[in-house]
Amino acid sequence: MTDTRGTIDTIWRIEAPKIIGGLARLVRDVGLAEELAQDALVEALEKWPETGIPQNPAAWLTLVARRRAIDRFRRDRMVRDKNREVARELDAREDVSIALIEAHMDDDIGDERLALIFTACHPVLSEEARAALTLRLLGGLTPVEIARAFVSTEATIQQRIVRAKKTLKEADVIFEVPRGTERLERLASVLSVIYLIFNEGYAATVGEDWMRVQLCREAQRLGRILAELMPEDSEVLGLLALMEFSASRFGARTARDGSPILLLDQDRLRWDRLLIHRGVAALERAEKLGQPKGPYRLQAEIAGCHATAPAAGDTNWIRIAALYEALGTVAPSPIVELNRAVALSMAFGPAVAITVVDKLCDEPKLQNYHLLPSVRGDLLEKLERFREAAGEFERAAALATNAREKALLEKRASACRARQG
């Protein structure tokens, strides 16, 4: 069964970043590049069902897009200096044959795809805009698919993308891979977008739109692509490892009734060993670079401790506690400190941990966070301070938003009250 339309869409998904990146470098405008590429796709959808799919579809699409770019610049009455320069450049390439385009197709695509990622993730855009634009330009997702993934509407997403392109143009964002000190900042933006996309997908639960879960795969794919384009950056490898480890637990994290299963209670036979192996490999590559450990790498190492422990009882909690301490240094947050306390309690017992948790009680950011009293309650219970433990579990239950968790916490409160004596 030949489904030409489906094949063309598939080819588009594979080649779009390369085509758009190449055009963006020429016309110096990502929004325009995408429009031209889309125009070429429309032409392909009209012609290829009859002529058959060309040997090198990417080259064909690029040629058509370039020709349209030339037409557009010629028709543009008010050719400003910038456009004139571009028009001249395009003119010079006008008689470039498909053979020549093919020959140069693979030159610098690494650079162009990287420039595309950096541009789509530019900090001048809001995080949502960056995510939508990245999924559109690099993932080849349609606005409909992006809308389903983020539980939004097609109109909202389309508008978001249009505005994003406009913002980039108005801010005169240059299509390039940033260098020097700017590179580090801009990279942080790229990593946060990819991680945001991943977490959107990871938050999806059983029964939700399949497209939501697909976000994780797209993010993993982007992470892998980025790791190949920037192998000299250990945080890139750190993020990749973190995503591989997290994704390895997909099959184990939900119970038959849809309720979530905590990591420590998961059936480790259901963890995807291939992904764990890839996560470990990414961390090893990161280690070899000899760079200081950033937040993604540290989080990945924590995830790696769990991923490589054959059973929950084999977990190296001392190492995890040390990693949380390091994480607290590079990316301080009360939640990191709370997690460190949990690790400390597993490694050294509740008495050591509770001193850390007590210090967090006045932390404004945690006032409505149910896990703080939940953890404190757990430690107090282990220390046999049952009355106080019950109080904490009750407070946690009141703050919990999830009905199942609430019930669980209330149960623990009752159990403690019973042992109050």
């Binding site: 489904d3 339309r5 489906g6 094949t7 869409d9 598939t10 080819i11 998904r13 594979i14 690494g110 059983v206 399949w210 879960v213 697909q214 795969r217 993993q220 794919r221 982007l222 992470g223 892998r224 692509i225 190949e228 384009l229 997909f250 099959g251 184990a252 939900t254 119970a255 038959r256 849809g258 059936d267 259901r270 291939l274 890839r278």
Partner: protein, 142 residues
């Protein structure tokens, strides 16, 4: 979705003949593209069947047969594990594989990932639900 792509055997692979310099380069480049596209998860080349064995189990008896085996067409010389958005995407990628000297045949198989969503029985139900959704989506596209 995960796919295993089998590279079928040929008289040359069964003979353990070393590939040419050109083919090695081309395959190297191809594999690199697969990695750079975030598609390649794993891949292995398999030694000729002469170095392998077959085991059949019937009525509690094991019968071991040493290679080589005759039906070259049925055998596998290597495989990849890929992450693709669809079978069609996997097919497009296979089409880009550089041709070898004698024979090129591939088989693509999707990996069971029942555990993508739930556990035990629910997983199977969910898998079927997803398969149905996909079929509906693809039907809408045509």
């Amino acid at each position: 979705m995960r796919f295993v792509v089998f590279i079928k055997a040929s008289p040359m692979t069964e003979a353990g003949a070393a590939p040419t310099e050109d083919l090695l380069m081309a395959m190297g480049k191809y594999n690199e593209e697969l990695v750079r596209a975030g598609v390649m998860l794993d891949g292995m080349g398999l030694m000729p069947s002469a170095k392998g064995a077959r085991i059949t189990i019937a009525n509690g008896t094991h019968t071991v047969t040493d290679g080589p085996f005759a039906e070259t067409k049925e055998m596998v010389a290597g495989f990849w594990v890929w992450e693709c958005r669809s079978l069609q995407e996997a097919i497009e990628w296979v089409k880009r594989c550089p041709p070898s000297v004698d024979q090129d045949s591939f088989e693509i198989r999707q990996v069971y990932e029942l555990d993508d969503f739930g556990s035990d029985g629910e997983g199977i139900e969910q898998h079927e639900k997803v398969a149905k959704m996909l079929a509906e989506r693809d039907a809408g596209k045509a």
